[in-house]
């Protein structure tokens, strides 16, 4: 276990180099957020009252919480790095060392999210304080706890999906388009763009058979009080199952990939 603490430590030191970059990214990321909120505010002005079951405060909170969860769980460039490791043959060294590549990568991912969140918390906190009028608190402490657990599962799911996808570099030379295409689905079907329950019910229900809602929408809707009670615990279980499923898939893909691997340039 100690060696992985070491990896986290190295990861933190390496990511600290990008702190200014992260600050820029998170600060400028607020511009589209302001735009989306303004757009919704304009919609509410003409409607007077709830839109699709959301009050104005709830919808604004939705986007603010998306920003927070995104900072905590989004994969930054881990997938590009993994694909690069495979393509350039750097992966060979991990086959020789007594270290598990998945665990190694997860440590780096966690370290990087830690630093990113720490940096991003400056502009995001300022922004939330400016909008505090519209920032709703979670219904109760238990909900907050489930929200926290769900965020951890979300981070694991995000990581494992990206990891598995990046491993396809064992077979494909170019996976950047694939990453962007999957990212597009995560973006819309995950609920980054709008809460999924404003979609027609049938479509929203269908989406819940995919892992995408559990990558963002699920924890956020726990926070804004849209998913409560038994549905919340049931959702948490399904989310955990998705994490487990992708963990198994990642192992299988890795195992098959390694057999195919021919250490080009390594």
């Amino acid at each position: 276990m100690r060696k992985y603490w070491h990896v986290i430590n190295v990861g933190i030191q390496n990511t600290l180099v990008y702190r200014v970059n992260f600050l820029f990214r998170s600060a400028f990321g607020l511009i589209p957020l302001v735009a989306t909120i303004s757009l919704w505010r304009t919609v509410y002005e003409s409607k007077q009252g709830d839109v699709a079951g959301y009050s104005l405060a709830q919808i604004i909170s939705y986007y603010l919480v998306v920003t927070i969860v995104d900072a905590l769980t989004a994969v930054y460039d881990d997938d590009w790095q993994i694909a690069g490791d495979i393509r350039d043959g750097n992966i060979s060294q991990f086959l020789l060392k007594p270290i598990d590549y998945l665990a190694y990568r997860f440590c780096l991912f966690s370290a990087q999210r830690l630093i990113y969140t720490a940096v991003a918390s400056i502009p995001v906190t300022v922004f939330i304080l400016l909008n505090r009028k519209y920032f709703v608190a979670p219904p109760d402490a238990a909900t907050l706890g489930v929200f926290a657990i769900s965020i951890v599962l979300t981070a694991m799911l995000q990581f494992l999906i990206s990891y598995t996808l990046a491993l396809l570099a064992f077979w494909l030379l170019e996976i950047s388009t694939l990453i962007f295409i999957i990212f597009a689905f995560e973006y819309i079907a995950g609920g980054h763009l709008f809460p999924l329950d404003i979609l027609p019910p049938l479509l929203a229900k269908t989406l819940f058979f995919t892992p995408f809602p559990y990558q963002m929408f699920f924890p956020v809707s726990i926070y804004v009080g849209k998913i409560t009670g038994s549905a919340m615990y049931q959702g948490l279980l399904i989310q955990a199952l998705w994490v487990f499923a992708f963990y198994a898939l990642a192992r299988v893909v890795w195992w098959r990939g390694i057999r195919k691997y021919s250490a080009v340039g390594g």
């Binding site: 970059n21 820029f24 589209p32 303004s38 304009t42 388009t177």
Partner: protein
Amino acid sequence: MKTFRRYLGLYAAFWKNSVAREMGFKANFLLWIVTEALWFALQLAFIVVIYQHTDHIADWSKWEVVLLMGAAHFIQQMFQAFFLTNCTSISEHVRTGKFDFMLLLPVNTRFLLSLRQVDLGGYFNAASAVAVMIYALWQMQRVPSALEVLGFVMLAIVGVLIHYCFMFLLSAISFWTVRAQGVVWAYYSMFNLARLPDSAFRGTFRAFFTFAIPMLLVANVPARVLAQKLHSPRDILLLLAMMVVAFLLSQAGWRVSLKRYTSASS
């Protein structure tokens, strides 16, 4: 006139090179077009979903916003076809010392730097944007006059040039700090603003993105011309004025950067 012909000949040569390069990776080329189209569809889906719950955003109806999105996408893709890759690789040229070599060539360096690579995919994506705009106009049952179409094309060119001047200015900063990619990325994220209806915004946010960085003008003004929503010619004049200012600014920034340039390697 002779110089103009010479530069036209040069641009034809750039085209030939770029086509040859792109055709080396045909599958990749096609996949990138699919990816861009997917992201465009995603943005449209967002608007369609919002309009399920309202019938207008400020003074914009659904198909008018679709038209606006098409216009914004068209402008962005044309900018991409001509300039984007060139602007983003400037810091790379500086870092690797390739820039020294470019300075020695007997052509205008800014011309070479700005137009050397043609992004063919941009033309295909721009075509899909035109298709969306035609569909939106058909839904609105509007047939624009030849003069309006001409006006749109001219204003779209102005929009492309504004994007170019800002991106070039930001890239020129990379002469001082090699890590300007963050700044370039930030501008790219602001493209999202261009496709939203201007009247959904107000206050300092709107003023800033109209008079400082005219994101809320570049696509809104041409789209308003096509949709016959332009209330006064003032907006057109403002857009033109912003282009002149942006060009002068980028030229000044470029000159200052050149003066301070002291070769990276060699």
